[in-house]
């Protein structure tokens, strides 16, 4: 938890809406940003107390999208939870699937064929591209760039989504990974398409960076805004690009080296300031690293089965025990903790959502900044409310 501590929202009534008088700051204005607000990325709400335009207090209020995900997971079979994980972080269903499959495979001691591992890496890195490019677009949209960077980002995202669709049948709700492999094999045409997109993605990034990264307005808006110290980031459990932007070298792909990540050669970019600009740039650089991983994976993809022949689809009952499977999702460490009692349903099903944990430091980053900054800080945290509220 963060230094300030995460408060659960008090019931918010009309009394909160009046201006608050504070002898040290003058007249304060309490503004409820959200849940219906253009840039809270879903039904998120920030109770912001403003002194002029400066934030003196920020209370995140969420739960509007709560769907009882974890309890549902305990009342359905292992397999039936898989499509629900798509809907956690609905931008990155492939990595959610993978993390969940990893947890179940650990629980059941299920091996995974090599081709499936490679396919998982390819899809996870494509997902990372997709997520980061979306973030770059949304962040710029939050700074008020009239949708242009967003549309460019979506143009590229669309290509990756088409890939996902032709492989898994659905653009966003992929439901692709299975315990012990993957559901559908990738055809040579699909792999050629993936290679084409990977090879062209760098060109797109160049153009995007030319459009935006050197833009003085963007730099002025993001540099020094929402700075996060590495100490706070570590103690709050921040993971993913947000942590690396503060300069902490922690990437599960290197730390855990799950799957076949140890076979790829890639670097982990680190920021020095931990501000919004760093968070944005780290993601851009990660996209470039993802491209190299993709190129290696597509080159080395072995032939073979994609599903362990002993894996069971129906009647899957892992032996009693517990397991925690985690991977480096695009937003941070996404993990699933499962306890099995030998029945077809997990006894306990717990998600470690990166969006939610990363959101806990929102107030620490926003204090003293202006209301316009709060919007882009929230944008740079990169939350998906499906995952925050579960």
């Amino acid at each position: 938890m963060s230094n300030s501590g995460l408060e659960f929202p008090a019931p918010v009534g009309g009394s909160h809406v009046a201006a608050v008088h504070d002898p040290f700051h003058g007249d304060l204005l309490e503004v409820s940003m959200g849940p219906h607000h253009p840039s809270t990325h879903g039904v998120f709400r920030m109770m912001v107390t403003l002194d002029g335009e400066t934030i003196v207090k920020l209370k995140p209020v969420f739960g509007y999208l709560h769907r009882n995900h974890e309890k549902l997971g305990e009342n359905t079979s292992y397999l039936a939870s898989m499509p629900y994980t798509d809907r956690l972080d609905y931008l990155n269903s492939m990595t959610n699937n993978w993390a969940y499959a990893l947890a179940v495979e650990k629980l059941a001691g299920q091996p995974v064929p090599e081709r499936a591992e490679y396919l998982r890496v390819i899809l996870a890195e494509l997902t990372r591209l997709l997520n980061h490019v979306c973030l770059a677009g949304f962040l710029l949209q939050d700074t008020g760039a009239s949708g242009t960077p967003l549309m460019y980002a979506f143009r590229e995202r669309e290509k990756i989504l088409d890939l996902f669709e032709s492989l898994s049948g659905s653009r966003m709700m992929c439901n692709y990974q299975r315990f012990g492999g993957c559901r559908v094999d990738a055809s040579p045409e699909w792999l050629a398409g993936a290679k084409h997109i990977t090879d062209n993605f760098g060109r797109f990034l160049d153009e995007y960076e030319e459009l935006i990264t050197g833009n003085e307005i963007l730099m002025a808006r993001t540099q020094g805004v929402g700075a996060l110290s590495p100490e706070l980031a570590i103690s709050a459990g921040i993971t993913g690009p947000m942590l690396r932007a503060t300069g902490v070298d922690y990437d599960l792909r290197k730390v855990d080296a799950y799957g076949v990540y140890s076979r790829f050669n890639f670097r982990v970019p680190l920021g020095d300031h931990g501000d919004t600009y760093d968070r944005y740039m780290i993601r851009v650089l990660e996209m470039r690293e993802s491209i190299t991983i993709l190129q290696q994976a597509l080159r080395d993809l072995p032939a073979g089965p994609i599903m362990d022949p002993k894996a069971k689809i129906r009647g899957f009952r892992p032996k009693a025990g517990e397991a925690y499977g985690r991977i480096e999702g695009p937003k941070g460490e996404i993990g699933f903790y499962l306890i099995s009692d030998g029945s077809p349903n997990p006894y306990r099903y717990r998600v470690r959502p990166p969006s939610f944990v990363n959101l806990t430091v929102l107030e620490d980053m926003c204090l003293g900044q202006t209301i316009a900054d709060a919007v882009i800080i929230l944008g740079s945290v990169d939350i998906v409310l499906g995952e925050v509220d579960r």
Binding site: S166, G169, M173
Partner: protein
């Protein structure tokens, strides 16, 4: 110098404005109702029930109402009631069939788990996505008549997958047939040994069913052709009179056989 980044940005957008007039890479939208993108073969939307042929979809559903999909469906949008009677399936085996098979597509989340768990290849994913209605409830609750689509349609939307499935079914049926033949032979041997055979019914239907299945898989491109229909139409006389009193008879018969 101040402003160079801004000018660079303007350059990129200018390139895109100009590009949108001649470069398809820079004008990426599809004018939807007039133009449509080609759906990938794997695309899935909502489930449908596979029937062996188009003329009699209800009679030839592959579904045997085993209710595995109903149980596995994550949002539990499938509702099945088993029939009380039995009908011969494509392989000629007497099977229970779904008297009620409803899918609430307003609940369905298109996850394809029903397809994966179905042991009979009876439920597959459709690709029709223009299903908006002004009716919130009834129009979205599909019953088995609306759900049933012929195998030829399945071949049309998922060619490779369907061919693979049919091949597998064929192989399974062949194996079943051989097993049945072996069983029949064994039974015949047994019968010969016992020198008393009161039930020769099972073997003829099984042998009649197998060619029918072959014909159905071969004639995928031209649905409802006479050869495909022939064995099927041959079966109803056996199934149709088989109302509730007759239903128990084969069962007791089968039980009585060994």
């Amino acid at each position: 110098m101040l402003g160079s980044g801004l000018l660079q940005g303007l350059k990129v957008t200018a390139k895109n404005i100009a590009g949108s007039f001649h470069d398809p890479e820079r004008l990426v939208t599809v004018e939807y109702p007039e133009q449509k993108t080609k759906l990938p073969e794997n695309y899935r939307n909502f489930p449908f029930l596979v029937s062996e042929n188009a003329t009699d979809p209800m009679g030839t559903l592959r579904c045997v109402a085993c209710q595995i999909c109903e149980k596995e469906c994550p949002p539990q949008c499938i509702y099945i009631e088993k029939s009380k009677d039995k009908k011969p399936d494509a392989a000629g085996k007497m099977q229970v069939y779904p008297a009620v098979f409803d899918i609430d597509t307003s609940v369905c989340m298109s996850c394809q788990i029903c397809v994966e768990v179905c042991p009979f290849e009876a439920i597959k994913m459709d690709q029709v996505f223009e299903i908006a209605t002004t009716d919130r409830f009834n129009a979205l609750l599909l019953d088995r008549n609306q759900l049933a689509k012929p195998n030829s349609y399945y071949h049309q939307i998922h060619p490779t997958e369907a061919a693979e499935v049919d091949g597998r079914l064929l192989a399974e049926r062949k194996a079943a047939e051989e097993k049945a033949k072996a069983a029949a032979a064994a039974a015949a041997a047994k019968a010969a040994a016992a020198a008393a055979a009161p039930k020769p019914v099972a073997t003829p239907t099984a042998t009649a069913g197998a060619p029918g299945a072959v014909a159905a898989t071969v004639s995928v491109a031209k649905p409802a052709t006479p050869p495909a229909a022939a064995p099927v139409s041959a079966t109803p006389p056996a199934a149709a009179p088989a109302a509730s009193p007759a239903q128990n008879a084969p069962a007791s018969d089968g039980k009585a056989a060994p």
